[in-house]
Symmetry: C2
């Protein structure tokens, strides 16, 4: 009886994992059902057909079919603020009782008065201070648990859905479609690598070893005779802008043939990917649907898209209009 119940729960968990739903949907004739017919969808399908066609001059062996995806704003939402920032702000509230000094110390004092804008006024310095105070000082396993607990309970302020349900259905389909065609899919985000990994397998079907992100230093040590990795309050690597090709080289060791981003932070990733020889797919997700999601680009504090948008036509990058190219935005909006 109990066994049956466990089996049912496991089955439900598997069936409800967004990427699994996509894999099932895949059995249908159209592998990209949430993409409207048109030039954008055609350019994706043509690219995949080209690189997988045995004997064609554009054929790419499976081992070299590497596709990289930015995360925030490309695979899931990033408004009204990056999810990791929401996590950090929640952590400040949770940790405040252990830090009486925060009441008089910026940026924490403003945060504790719920004035996020004033807290972040000093820009990068405030961000780094908040990240170090909330992301360091514990072991990697402790941090993983903290992140998992947060994802299990926190809700997106606009949709009131768990953050893990804020992934874009068309992008989940694209990930599954590429994998079904022999691609290895990687996430390449400016977000924290250890903030993403606890949920990328469930949400996107991307295992932790295929997640690349910004990181702080860790240190190996023994605690009560047991080996642990302790997270130190020191930056290790920023996986953004010119750091993205560096991250690709360090983690993957070969140039991707497809890259998808949505902001100027993805420019060099797109440039690096599409300047290799042979067929390449460069894609930019344009947030132009204020009704079903959020509309923003050149002036947004999160996911600013300006230079990339100007450069896209001459570089042959496909600009995806969320409004016109996507039939559905989120998995739970499917008809």
């Amino acid at each position: 009886m109990i066994e049956q119940r466990i089996r049912r729960c496991v089955l439900a968990a598997i069936v409800c994992a967004p990427w699994y739903v996509v894999t099932l949907a895949h059995a249908q004739s159209d592998p990209l059902p949430s993409w409207n017919e048109g030039q954008t969808k055609a350019s994706i399908v043509e690219f995949v057909a080209k690189v997988t066609k045995q004997g064609s001059p554009d054929f790419v062996p499976p081992a070299e079919r590497i596709a990289v995806f930015d995360n925030d704003g490309t695979l899931w939402a990033e408004q009204p603020m990056y999810f990791q920032l929401s996590f950090a702000l929640d952590r400040v509230q949770t940790l405040a009782p252990q830090h009486p000094e925060w009441k008089e110390k910026e940026p924490f004092a403003s945060l504790l008065q719920n004035d996020v804008q004033r807290a972040l006024a000093s820009g990068e310095r405030a961000m780094v201070e908040i990240v170090m105070a909330t992301h360091a000082g514990m072991t990697t396993e402790e941090f993983e648990q903290i992140v998992k607990d947060w994802f299990a309970t926190a809700k997106h302020p606009k949709t009131r859905r768990p953050y893990t349900e804020m992934a874009y259905q068309p992008m989940l389909e694209l990930l599954a479609y590429l994998r079904a065609n022999g691609f290895k899919t990687f996430i390449l985000s400016a977000g924290g690598i250890e903030f993403m990994r606890p949920c990328t397998e469930e949400v996107y079907g991307v295992p932790p070893e295929q997640v690349i992100g910004s990181s702080i230093r860790t240190k190996f040590e023994l605690r009560d005779g047991k080996p642990v990795l302790v997270r130190l309050p020191e930056l290790n690597f920023i996986d953004d802008k010119a750091g993205k090709p560096v991250g690709i080289n360090s983690h993957i060791g070969r140039r991707p043939i497809a890259a998808s981003g949505n902001s100027d932070g993805d420019f060099q990733m797109l440039e690096w990917t599409t300047s290799g020889s042979g067929p390449r797919l460069g894609m930019i997700v344009h947030h132009d649907d204020g009704e079903r999601e959020f509309a923003y680009d050149r002036k947004s504090p999160f996911g600013k898209l300006d230079h990339c948008l100007d450069e896209a036509p001459q570089r042959g990058w496909t600009v995806v209009s969320m409004k016109h190219d996507w039939k559905t935005i989120f998995p739970w909006q499917r008809p």
Copy 2:
């Protein structure tokens, strides 16, 4: 006619790739034919049977079947010196005409007089200077080509074989055996990540994204409008000793269930791997066969094995005797 010749060459290249030979051998009943029957071989087979048995309490899902392998001295030879050091010394000779100042500057002056021992007398400082002079200052693509060219022509001083033929046949079989059982195999070496990657796929069947190693910094820039990654003369990461669990966490993001090493530099990798819960395989390759390979352990300047050997019994790590456990050492010695 020409087409036929090309086809024949391609076929020969594929068939001669060491890991491919192993994959073919795999079709036979014994997946580890170069391992003598006995306790060592049994412990490997039992471990694999345990973690792959559906429904068993020791079952490990395929996604978590991560196996890491040290490279020098574990997967291929490391005597009379690390292959990468041979490479660096050859590069010093090649580059010397462009560096007249080296004639009077240590460690280069001694190297140019073929006195390696004197050159390396100052220890780590000399090594770092040699590495920076030979491994930095070019783009990643240029370096890859330099490494490929070297592997295509350089010969091991004792066997006169290409270095890529100095991989251990039993370990090639083990890699293939684990992969056939759903494992993902990673290389985790103190050697340079970009020195290994150009040949790990051919020699071991391990793609570049599953190779972790020490690295120098790289910088993204444009050269004649083309994006490149330039290798800088600055250390980025040392993937040795306590650095190995850090490298595992950074690149893989979960704890392996199997680890193989051969020196004290692998201690923390073994400790980290085998202190997780559930079945674990920790393995140490002991170089005790002076006749067929090299005999060394506690006092060797390359691949010193001392503390690890003492700790193995109480930690349940399997010590592989090359002399007694291996029927064949190198692929070209097979009967």
